[in-house]
Amino acid sequence: MADITQSGDVFSATPVRRRPRIKLRHIGDHAILVAGALLMVFPIVLVLMTTSFEDADIVKNGLQFGFEGQMLENFEAAMFEASGFTKTITGTRMLMNSMILGLGFAIGKIVISMMAAYAIVYFRLRFATFAFWIIFTTLLLPLEVRILPSYEAIQSMGLANTYTGLIVPLIASATGTFFFRQFFRSIPEELVEAARIDGAGPVKFFIDILVPLSRTMIAAIFIIMFVYGWNQYLWPTLITTDEGMFTLVRGIKQIVQVLSQTGAMIPEYGKALALSLIAMIPPVLIVIFFQSWFVKGLTESDK
């Protein structure tokens, strides 16, 4: 019916006003999306609500619905109260450590992989392709495979419990090198030649042309790598024994564990849960703020 009237309208001069209609299909789609979103958000809300309870309640009854008066205290304790065996580590300190790890990890990876890709793509090296494939195959080897030798090396260099030891072994990046290589290869050859005629040497070309051209790519990789670095657990656990060096992700567990082992008190669940919420915030913020760059970096080619 509707089709017939529409096809008639094509030839009529007066435009037909259409009422915006809510289609049944759209309702279904949105219902699924909303349900999915709720499903994802629910645990976080549950945790948030639980942080407002006293530790004793949490131990007795598990995760809680509703709000009690303890939320502020728990968050304050999580951020500022010293904890651990040595009572040297606070939430702020852990947040800072995590930030240093996340930023160092992401920036280090970007710098290293950009330079590696630059060498592979733009210089006539003898074994450039071979080197690239060697780097590429390390994608198949997760950190866990080389964790013992890495630990051994860092330990023997005396870099345990330092930021250097925490960050440097992680910053070699096959993924980053691969992304930047693909990106550099898509930059037209003439641009390199124009730069050569304009008197830009290798370093100038890299800094003046390649880096600015790669900025959306850099942003995209920064997001991925920051979140990845922030969420590192195994390596920080191994390499930091000094509590002052703990990162958030590692520290949360420590809080629960330490207090339950000392046994004198109830584990500080409220504080731990507050800390895990705090740990979620920076990656979320990064993704929200860099989202448009991220999409651009992966899809747009502004060459």
Partner: protein, 349 residues
Amino acid sequence: MAQVTLDRVRKTYPNGHEAVHPCSVEIPDGELVVLVGPSGCGKSTLLRMIAGLEDITDGALSIGREVVNDRDPADRNIAMVFQNYALYPHMSVAKNMGYGLKNRGASKAEIDTKVQEAARILNLGDYLDRRPSQLSGGQRQRVAMGRAIVRDPELFLFDEPLSNLDAKLRNQMRIEIRALQQRLGVTSVYVTHDQVEAMTMADRIIVLNGGRVEQIGTPTEIYEHPASTFVAGFMGAPPMNLMQAHIADGVLTLGEETHLPFAAPAVATDSVLVGFRPEDVRLGGDGSMMLHVEIIEELGAHRLLHGKLGGQPFSLSIGKDEVAGLGAQPITLPRDRIHFFHPERGTRI
């Protein structure tokens, strides 16, 4: 401004492929030389060798009487305009033009003056703060020109600068580039595969084929006296008609019984290639020469008749007022505009 000399310049790739056979040319100060040839003929390679983007295997290249074989592109005092413009996408028009000067350590004020001057010449004044992506093809082309001008080079190099533009803009930019080059008086080397561009812009043309120089000459020389069948076929649209003719007792014969009313040239072979420009042949005549027209192409200003003469393909260009139909048409061959070529070597006789 400078004179450019190529002395037996040669390019052999590591895999043994000889991209440019020894080539010697002298380009006087202020001249615009066009390198023309089909794709893969080595014209771009030769240009890139002059620019310093490709190594010169052998021979000497001098710009302004100095041999520059081993100098970096930046130190040759040249400027190059690329086919796809090669503008830096993240820089404004002004920055694009000034980048080379900045790298040479020019002062901000100097860069500014020169960029303004170039922008004025090229009518880019309103666009200096824009990014290349915000410009049209023709404007981008002008920015690329501007980048070349501000460097105040001794030599301009153009690598098919117009082939990314549409036909109308191409004609317009062709004239602009030529006018600009003449005004600035800078020696230029211009690469193109378009023979119209070559004919219209060049002081002199170098026709390349398979890495070899086929002919060097002014557009008129190249057109009137092509040195080989290759040049004859490449320059001019539609190309010259080239036909195999037999020589028997000084009489030239096409196919079985079409006798040509000219004396054969004095050659040792028993056949020869005869060439006529389609526009030199006239429609009408005494009927001794009949063209069998198979296709008529209407081009507005003139018309092309394609058919067979003595069993061999033949084209003829007629004015828009002349009337011709399909089938047998009498034609008259020009007596004074005949080109003879060697049947095997293809060289002019």
